[in-house]
């Protein structure tokens, strides 16, 4: 038969000699290999105390961004919800009233903004779709919960703290 690659290896099928057939040498070799691992550096990371750095492209929980003056970026255009393949994002828009200019950046804002983290697949399409740089995926892992309701993240959960208020 013609070989497709040159990587094929001929299998040895000659019968075992005496020392091979009593396996003791093979067992001893195996023991030495495991003993070597006994003294090797351990791969374990003590999770809550030590954390492994995420890759720079890691996509974790969402945040809703504010601009440098602390105004919400989101204008409730709905592009993120449209881009979402899992249909995890829902929102309701509202119009900015006079006197609220320091709270919202544009005339329209999201009165309600919810992401269902049980549906979310952390694909990052919302981040890409957002024309106002309002939604970002952070480096946080979605925390666990016993209750399905806790997985629906409301605007209060998502909005990053006010840059001035947090100082």
């Amino acid at each position: 038969m013609e070989r497709i690659t040159n990587r094929a290896k001929q299998v040895e099928r000659k019968p075992m000699n005496f020392w091979e057939s009593i396996y003791l040498i093979a067992i001893f070799k195996g023991l030495m290999i495991t003993l070597r691992h006994f003294f090797m550096k351990k791969a374990t990371i003590n999770y809550p105390e030590e954390k492994r750095p995420f890759s720079p492209v890691f996509r974790g929980l969402h945040v809703l961004n504010r601009d440098e003056e602390g105004r919400e970026n989101c204008t409730a255009c709905g592009l993120c919800a449209l881009a979402c393949p899992a249909e995890a994002i829902t929102m309701e828009a509202a119009e900015r009233l006079p006197g609220e200019e320091n709270k919202y950046r544009e005339e329209k804002y999201a009165a309600k903004y919810e992401i269902n983290m049980l549906r979310c697949i952390f694909c990052g399409f919302c981040e890409e779709a957002c024309p106002k740089d309002a939604v970002y995926l952070s480096q946080t892992v979605a925390p666990a919960s016993f209750n399905r309701k806790n997985f629906i993240y409301t605007k209060e959960d998502l909005l990053i703290p006010h840059p001035k208020a947090s100082k």
């Binding site: 067992i27 495991t34 003993l35 691992h37 374990t44 003590n46």
Partner: protein, 349 residues
């Protein structure tokens, strides 16, 4: 009873208590060591949350086992179901009775030898009690009225019977060399001469393999093959009843490590040291403590060895296990016995 007899009974009772307590403690920490060794051999660090280095882990495990729900299957024979696990534990605790732990301690003007029973049939006692051990597994497996458990029990029974034979035959070679079945005699003979592992390397190897089979440790842990028998003989057991089986296994491991050390590695003998001369220098009590440390160190090495092998060699197929026992080890043990006999005959002439 005379005062002397009462003192004797009290001394032995205290020894029994210490012995059982000690082997329970060692067994408890063997479970911890098993997990640590397993982790280290697999490049992990193992339990480290309960106490420093996870040293409180056995307590946590015990608490967990005690607080778990205890289920007795509806169709199980209740009496035998409980008897099985109890028997496994009792027999495991019994084997240690004949082991000489060290030379005598001087307490007041009384010499206390840390050995519960220095009987002339030490060997036979060990062999007898070891083969009783399988009854616990068999009865437990049969009483749980589960086909898989029964298969596990069957495997345990035939495995232990098969490996008992080469084990007995290798012990006979030791008997031929020492002329005594008393364990203290065997240790005493090794103190002056070579350890028997040097004189009997083949016998040691056979004995070691058989001890693995007798204690149901990997690669001979066929009674509890979870991939073909669900859990094996203890499938139907829950909470501390299951814990007893596992605990008995660890006690067996400890005792069999001690027996290997006693028979083939000089028992409490301290290597390269003239024990009597050392004893005159530091006193009998310190010598006894050093002797005990020596035996315990050897036993600990073999416990580690059991774990080391467990994470190195995969489990046998059942027919391979039987092949090894009957077609390889039994003839080898017989040949070993013949050679020993021949050598003894030539040396005496």
């Amino acid at each position: 009873m005379t005062e002397e007899q009462i003192a004797f009974v009290l001394e032995k009772l205290a020894l029994v208590g210490v012995m059982i307590g000690f082997s329970l403690a060692v067994a408890a920490y063997s479970t911890w060591a098993e997990r640590k060794v397993a982790a280290f051999l697999q490049d992990r660090i193992g339990p480290n949350r309960a106490g420093i280095f996870g040293l409180l882990q056995p307590l946590a495990d015990g608490l967990k086992l005690f607080s778990k729900e205890e289920i007795t299957p509806k169709d199980a024979n209740k009496f035998l179901f409980i008897l099985g696990t109890a028997l496994a534990m009792i027999v495991a605790c019994m084997t240690g009775a004949v082991i000489p732990w060290s030379t005598a301690f001087e307490i007041g003007d009384r010499l206390v030898v840390p050995q519960i029973a220095d009987i002339n049939i030490g060997f036979l006692y060990i062999l007898g009690v070891l083969s009783l051990g399988v009854y616990g597994i068999m009865i437990g497996a049969w009483a749980s009225n589960n086909k898989y458990s029964l298969m596990g029990g069957l495997r345990a029974a035939s495995q232990i019977i098969s490996y008992e034979l080469p084990m007995g035959l290798t012990l006979i070679t030791i008997l031929m060399m020492t002329g005594s079945l008393k364990l203290s005699d065997i240790v005493a003979q090794q103190q002056d001469n070579f350890w028997f592992v040097i004189l009997q390397p083949l016998g040691f190897l056979i004995f070691l393999v058989c001890s693995f089979a007798e204690t149901n440790r990997t690669p001979f842990d066929l009674p509890e093959a979870e991939n073909e028998l669900i859990g094996g003989y203890h499938s139907e057991y829950s909470s501390m009843k299951m814990g007893f089986f596992l605990f008995a296994e660890y006690i067996n491991m400890f005792i069999s490590s001690t027996i290997i050390a006693t028979i083939y590695f000089g028992g409490y003998d301290i290597p390269f040291v003239n024990d009597v001369a050392l004893g005159e220098k530091i006193g009998a009590n310190w010598l006894a403590i050093l002797h005990f440390a020596s035996l315990f160190g050897k036993a600990c090495f073999f416990i580690f060895f059991y774990m080391w092998v467990r994470w190195t060699i995969p489990r046998f197929r059942y027919d391979q296990l039987m092949d090894l026992g009957w077609k390889k080890l039994l003839p080898l043990a017989l040949i070993n016995m013949l050679i020993t006999g021949l050598v003894i005959l030539l040396m005496n002439n």
